[in-house]
């Protein structure tokens, strides 16, 4: 009997969660419809929902914090101006990612034309939940820097696929839609990206390993 009650509670919780997701999707659809009619406040809600996602997607792709905010903002401006073209055939986040990736591509081309070599900005904020000793903090920052440099050193075609999969957790189908490439190409680029990173980061410890060592 007890088991039965637990099962009923579990099932009702699951249906509640599903309901919440459905409500959110419905709310998003309404916001998009309102934005299509020129309602900027509705679009503001969409910005709040996706700003962190878009900002970090752009940051990981470009590897530089200075450009990330500008390109992320440009993504939203472009999305608003062309929102009537969004037909709901893909997720709104996928559509935003596509715009962001195209802008990143333009920025990378522009950079390679100008052959910029600027230093990393200092306004980068790294959330830290725990307290770490100074040595540990230095070690963690070094790891972060090496990881960032390794990802940035990937050629842009491999890097974009890798970021969309590894950080944004998108399916191969979604990545192929965003980058407009076949699924087989997504698979092979991802494989090549991981093989390159393996050789670049082979001696690097994970953050967990660093923490474990300091605890011992």
């Amino acid at each position: 009997m007890e088991y039965f009650h637990v099962l009923i509670r579990h099932l009702s919780q699951r249906s509640d969660k599903r309901q919440v997701i459905l409500d959110m999707e419905e709310k998003e659809e309404l916001l998009i419809e309102r934005a299509k009619k020129g309602d900027v406040s509705a679009f503001s809600e969409l910005i709040k929902k996706y700003e962190r996602y878009v900002l970090n997607l752009v940051y990981r792709t470009l590897g530089r914090a200075e450009d990330a905010e500008d390109i992320a903002q440009e993504t939203f401006v472009k999305a608003y101006l062309h929102i009537k073209k969004f037909k709901g055939e893909s997720k709104f986040s996928t559509w935003l990612s596509k715009i962001a990736m195209n802008l990143c591509m333009d920025k990378i081309r522009e950079r390679s034309n100008r052959e910029e070599n600027l230093e990393e900005g200092v306004w980068l904020t790294i959330p830290q939940d725990n307290y770490y000793s100074p040595e540990e903090t230095v070690e963690r920052l070094e790891i972060q820097e090496k990881i960032k440099n390794a990802v940035s050193s990937l050629p842009e075609d491999l890097r974009m696929v890798f970021i969309l999969r590894e950080f944004e957790d998108l399916s191969y189908q979604e990545i192929s839609e965003i980058l407009n490439i076949p699924m087989g190409t997504v698979e092979s680029r991802l494989h090549r990206a991981r093989m390159r990173l393996k050789s670049l980061l082979k001696d690097l410890k994970t953050v967990e390993e660093v923490t474990e060592k300091s605890e011992v």
Partner: protein, 151 residues
């Protein structure tokens, strides 16, 4: 399955993107092949390492700056549309002006020949008065086609 083929598929296997039959074959291979198992561990390690990638936090004015940019862009577009509309009207007006004043209607041209032409015709008729006939038939036809005023 051969190691080279398994290694090529490991990335998709790790992502859960392989079809079920291939996924089972890879799993079976991994149980007996240490080299491929290490390769899979490497992919897992890269995934764990990426957890340390720095995260950017959204600045306090991020959203308001976007709204400003949208409003500016909207203004720019409205101005550009207005400019195009004005230019369109101006071009239409110019074409209308040219059509009206540069080329008068055909019937007016027939009924009212220019004063210079009238003078020539009068002089000609005075000169050849009484000799119009067989030797000058073309002139008679030309004059009659010019209308009453020219006679």
């Amino acid at each position: 399955m051969r190691c080279s083929e398994v290694k090529r598929l490991l990335s998709a296997y790790f992502d859960g993107e392989l079809p079920t039959d291939k996924s089972i074959k890879v799993r079976e291979h991994l149980k007996s092949c240490k080299s491929c198992a290490i390769e899979l561990e490497n992919i897992e390690k890269i995934h764990r390492l990426m957890g340390a990638f720095p995260i950017l936090e959204v600045g306090p004015y991020f959203e308001s700056q976007i709204i400003d940019r949208i409003e500016k862009e909207n203004k720019r577009r409205k101005f550009s549309f207005g400019l195009k509309l004005t230019a369109g009207f101006a071009i239409c007006g110019l074409i209308f002006f040219l059509m009206t004043f540069r080329y008068p209607p055909k019937e007016d041209m027939n009924l009212q020949p220019t004063p210079v032409l009238n003078t020539y015709i009068q002089e000609y008729m005075e000169t050849y008065n009484g000799h119009i006939g067989r030797n000058n038939p073309g002139l008679i036809v030309s004059v009659s086609s010019l209308g009453e005023n020219s006679r």
